[in-house]
């Protein structure tokens, strides 16, 4: 993790160096208060998002949170109820979509045609890429089956073909919706490798997933959606807080809680399963906290420090939202 974070920082630093020649980072995709309603279901509500060139965005959220709806709208197949979006800084057109490589939901192909001929159709629509067909089929290890009709392909093979199709035109932007769906462990690793390599070439990637691990391994930025609303968006580390948590307990928990609320250096305080969970301000050490309680004449029966994973950061975010939700209604 540490190494990745460093590599990531290096990467960002490199990009900011590159900015010296480019005055301003250009916007790839801008979304302004986008909403989508299906009958009584509000699938997406007032979504705002700005995706800059060269960033790798993960769109995270449980099933039904509006990820695919968002991508469907910006790809022109779903009509937004309200709101608008811009591709490359201008009104969206079919021409703009040709600059984007996409894997949305299930792979859709002409099942009576071979992989080769399906990709020929995609290249004809995109206006280029015919010469890359063999290359991308090789990349997803389908070269040997290129002449077989899709109807005989397994779900995993179709998924890999869909990845090949997304990469076919060597697009500036890659949109991937659950790209490792239906793949075996080897396939998952392979596809992630392909995505990471693509990200390193400076392309913009937007990846929707409900698998946090996947987003963590590939993305620099993340937007978290739930029930069609944006909970958070920004750089990965700042959205999914991994600040250390200190768990403490004593004989009289109620008294401890009152006391802890006066303790210096404590940012946040929650009670969980017979223990208090403290989020410390940066620079605070557990030893200092322990000493302070001693000075107050309280002996702690339990003291432990936990550094939460991104996953618990994510779950916390979702859970906090649940806690707030009833108050809004």
């Amino acid at each position: 993790m540490g190494f990745r974070a460093q590599a990531c920082l290096c990467f960002i630093w490199f990009r900011s160096c590159a900015q010296v020649t480019i005055p301003r980072m250009s916007s790839i995709l801008e979304i302004f208060s986008l909403s989508k309603r299906y009958g009584r279901l509000q699938a997406l509500q007032d979504l705002n998002l700005q995706i800059e060139s060269g960033t790798t965005w993960g769109i995270l959220g449980p099933n039904g949170s509006g990820k695919t709806t968002t991508l469907g709208i910006v790809l022109g197949v779903l009509k937004p109820t309200t709101g608008e979006y811009l591709w490359f800084g201008t009104k969206p057109t079919a021409q703009a979509r040709r600059r984007v490589g996409t894997l949305l939901e299930t792979p859709n192909f002409y099942t009576y045609l071979s992989a080769q001929r399906n990709l020929e159709i995609v290249a004809a629509i995109k206006g280029h890429g015919q010469e890359r067909i063999a290359e991308v089929l090789d990349l997803v290890e389908l070269a040997k089956r290129a002449k077989d009709p899709i109807s005989g392909y397994s779900l995993g093979m179709r998924q890999r073909l869909a990845v090949a199709s997304a990469l076919l035109s060597d697009p500036e932007v890659l949109i991937l919706d659950e790209p490792t769906n239906g793949l075996d462990p080897q396939g998952i690793a392979d596809v992630r490798e392909v995505i990471k390599k693509t990200a390193q070439t400076g392309k913009t990637i937007i990846m929707a997933s409900h698998i946090l691990d996947e987003v963590e391994k590939v993305c620099s930025h993340v937007a978290v959606l739930k029930q069609g609303r944006r909970l958070a968006a920004g750089p990965l580390e700042s959205v999914l807080s991994t600040a250390p948590r200190l768990k403490i307990a004593s004989d009289d928990l109620a008294a401890l809680q009152t006391l802890a609320s006066q303790c210096p250096g404590v940012q946040e305080l929650t009670q969980q399963a017979g223990r208090l969970e403290l989020i410390l301000e940066s620079g605070q050490e557990p030893a200092q906290i322990n000493r302070w309680f001693m000075e107050q004449g309280v002996a702690l029966s339990h003291l432990s420090l936990e550094k939460p994973s991104l996953e618990s950061g994510f779950l916390n975010l979702i859970r906090e939202e649940d806690a707030h939700a009833p108050a809004q209604h």
Binding site: G76, K79, A94, Q95, R97, R98, N108, Y110, S114
Partner: protein, 257 residues
Amino acid sequence: MRLLSIELRKIVWYRAFWISALAYLVLMPLLFISMANFKIEVGAKTSIGLNFYLFPDVWHHAAYMASWFNLLLYFFVILLVTNEFQFRTLRQNIIDGLSRSEVLIGKLLLLLLFTLVSTLLVAVVAFGCGLAYGNGFDPATAFDKINYLALFFLQCYATLIFALFLSLLVQKQGLTIIVYLFYSLVIEPVLHYRILPQGWGEYLPMKIISELIPNPLPALLGLGVTRTVELQTILIALGYMVLMVVASWGWLHWRDL
């Protein structure tokens, strides 16, 4: 041309296309040629041998017979368009970079190509049969009724556009065919004979489209005179075609895919 080439890539290696095409290209001429021995027995003594192949009527007869085979093309178009919904490839085409208008134009071009090929076939069959089985060829009068080729072209394109419109609207393969049969066999006759005031039924779409090539049999059997096709019929048919294209366009643009 780009849009047509995309559409052609979808069907060139599609077996159902070649089966339909072969059936059309082989059966239609065969049936027409087989009428060379057509005879109707009337009573015990007289038998009327009919010659379908006399210039210039042969153009009309070939066009009329071929119009029945357009049903084959019709069902193939339904198959082709509803497939795009079933496999969600229409959605994929748009995601990949076609506009909704381009999707419609591509299909209209493909149907135009089908129509051109089948009109050409009718022309070849009519001309060939006229030469082979007719009563001689007089360049002065032989092409008098060649306008039936144009009417056939119009009828064929109108029929296929109707199939396209219905498929876009209904999307499900079986249901599209059921809706078509239900409309042409139940709804339109009921409208024609039960609901609409006398005479209005003549202007319903299926009726107008079929009127483009009137049935030549009564005239052949000496039971009447073939009505000439009025300009009004042609204009109304054209109007329906434009209407269906516009409706398809609006529908495609309005809805989620």
